[in-house]
Amino acid sequence: MKELTLQEELTKGFWHQNPLFVAVLGNCPALAVTTTITNGLAMGAAVIMVMMCSNIIISLIRKQVPKEVRIPCYIVVIAAFVTIVELLMKAYLPPEINESLGIFIPLIVVNCIIMYRAEVFASQYSVLRSAIDGIGMGMGFTVALVIISAIREAAGCGTILGIRISETYQPASIMIMAPGAFLVLGLLLAFFNYRKLSRGEKV
């Protein structure tokens, strides 16, 4: 495989290898917490933080960890950072955000995007590249969360970042319920695959 430049390592997660829209990983938080843009941003920030730190540590210990027990080791590292992030969020973020994110912050431990990057990237590449990869993939995930949550918040609540769009618009409350999440994610996936197909790429 061709060696990517550091800048490419950072930006590949945005569109080309987007963890949510292309790899279709991390659907659980993408469906559950994307009711408002604020929630999506908070979730994305937490994932960036955890992914960057865990990628650094896993890259540092990649030569010491025996191959047979690598997954439990990764989980311990990730869980440590998730706990740190969770306590930080409880301390500094407004209580409403913590309440609406709820169980999904601790569940970052089993987020498949972080496991995926640890397994295919951080355990094979240098510390610097792994850190950049973690940030880039986390930002790609955040971009995806913000897109989904912006559509859902605008259609389902009639607001963007809490500001009403129009007085006359009657929000379709189904969009902030579970079916709305599946509809939006499904349509976005269809849109990305449609673009790929029309450029003649393989889906």
Binding site: Q170, A172, S173, I174, M175, M177, P179, L183, G186, A190, Y194
Partner: protein, 328 residues
């Protein structure tokens, strides 16, 4: 034009015979006209606007989807027109203009084309859109209804403030009931095209006469509701609770039984399957009317039985001659 249409190869598993899709579809659309005329007469000219808006949005969405999917555009075959008409008939007469547009787009784009277009959809598009709208805009679909007395063909009902209930089947005690004559003609509250039993029967019977609709579905559906309404202990406090005639005349049962449950795409293929389908719809409708929170159960019962259609087809598939188990 007819030759040109004949050349289009599109999936059509639901017609086997000399008839083609456009002819069947336009006949069905024609048989829906009387019910719509009564709706416009009873609820006012705004209903005509709702119907036209639904049809226009459905046709436009169909053309857009087929264009995006790189298929030939077959909006002339009338199937999108029927979806639009049926959707309008299950909407309240005074819905704001964007609800028909959103509903028709959902029906065609999501319910029909994401599953493969005409002939491949699992659910009846109009009913699925109605269920979607009921969750999306509960205020407009469930409660924002205008009083019948203030309506009439020359009134614009959107300007009237009086609010009434959605259907003669409303469960709360103390509500007015309606005479059989009014229910037959359609002079009762309800959705745009579901109120007039006579107009719907005219269209439905003609479809059965032409063979486009199998009699088994409406007969088993309405028959099941009739019997169950008589024998089941009703948990609702209304004078008509155990009046089977009222149950089959009021609400959306006639429209559902003749035009929606009989949808060729979403109902079973075998004769036995059609009977099972109709009975299932009838059981679910009565159960929802008697024991659930919603006053009317036709929409959800048909959608649920649509979901079960592949299963029914599988279990009622006739054995091939000579391919059964060998006798020992």
């Amino acid at each position: 034009m007819a030759n040109e249409r004949g050349l289009i190869v599109s999936t059509s598993p639901h017609i086997r015979g000399p008839e083609d899709i456009p002819r069947v579809m336009w006949t069905v659309a024609g048989t829906l006209v009387p019910a719509g005329l009564v709706g416009v007469y009873v609820f006012g000219y705004y209903c005509l606007f709702v119907i036209l808006l639904c049809v226009a949005s459905a046709v436009a969405t169909e053309a857009l989807c087929q264009r995006l999917r790189g298929q030939p555009i077959t909006v002339n075959d009338g199937s999108a027109v029927i979806t639009g008409i049926l959707l309008a008939y299950v909407l309240p007469p005074s819905v704001p203009w964007y609800i028909p547009v959103v509903g028709a787009a959902f029906a065609i784009a999501i319910v029909k084309h994401t599953f493969g277009g005409l002939g491949n959809n699992i659910w009846n598009p109009a009913l699925a859109a109605r269920a979607f709208l009921q969750v999306a805009y509960p205020a407009s679909i469930n409660s924002d209804w205008r009083s019948l007395k203030e309506a009439g063909i020359l009134y614009n009902i959107t300007g009237v403030d009086a609010v009434t209930r959605a259907t003669p089947l409303f469960k709360e005690a103390g509500m007015e009931t309606y005479s059989y004559a009014n229910l037959l003609f359609g002079n009762v509250p309800g959705c745009v095209g579901e109120t007039s039993v006579i107009a719907l029967l005219l269209g439905g019977l003609y479809l059965i006469y032409r063979g486009y609709v199998d009699w088994r579905v409406p007969v088993s559906y309405i028959g099941t509701v009739f019997v169950l309404a008589m024998v089941l202990p009703a948990k609702i406090e209304a004078p008509w609770a155990n009046d089977p005639v009222y149950h089959i005349l009021a609400g959306g049962l006639m429209l559902g039984a003749f035009f929606m449950a009989t949808d060729m795409v979403t109902s079973p293929l075998t004769k036995k399957g059609l009977l099972i389908f109709g009975i299932g719809c009838g059981v679910l409708t009565t159960l929802i009317r008697f024991y659930a929170a919603y006053p009317e159960g036709v929409c959800y019962s048909i959608l649920l039985m649509n979901t079960a259609t592949p299963l029914i087809d599988r279990y009622t598939q006739p054995k091939l001659l000579g391919a059964g188990k060998a006798k020992k």
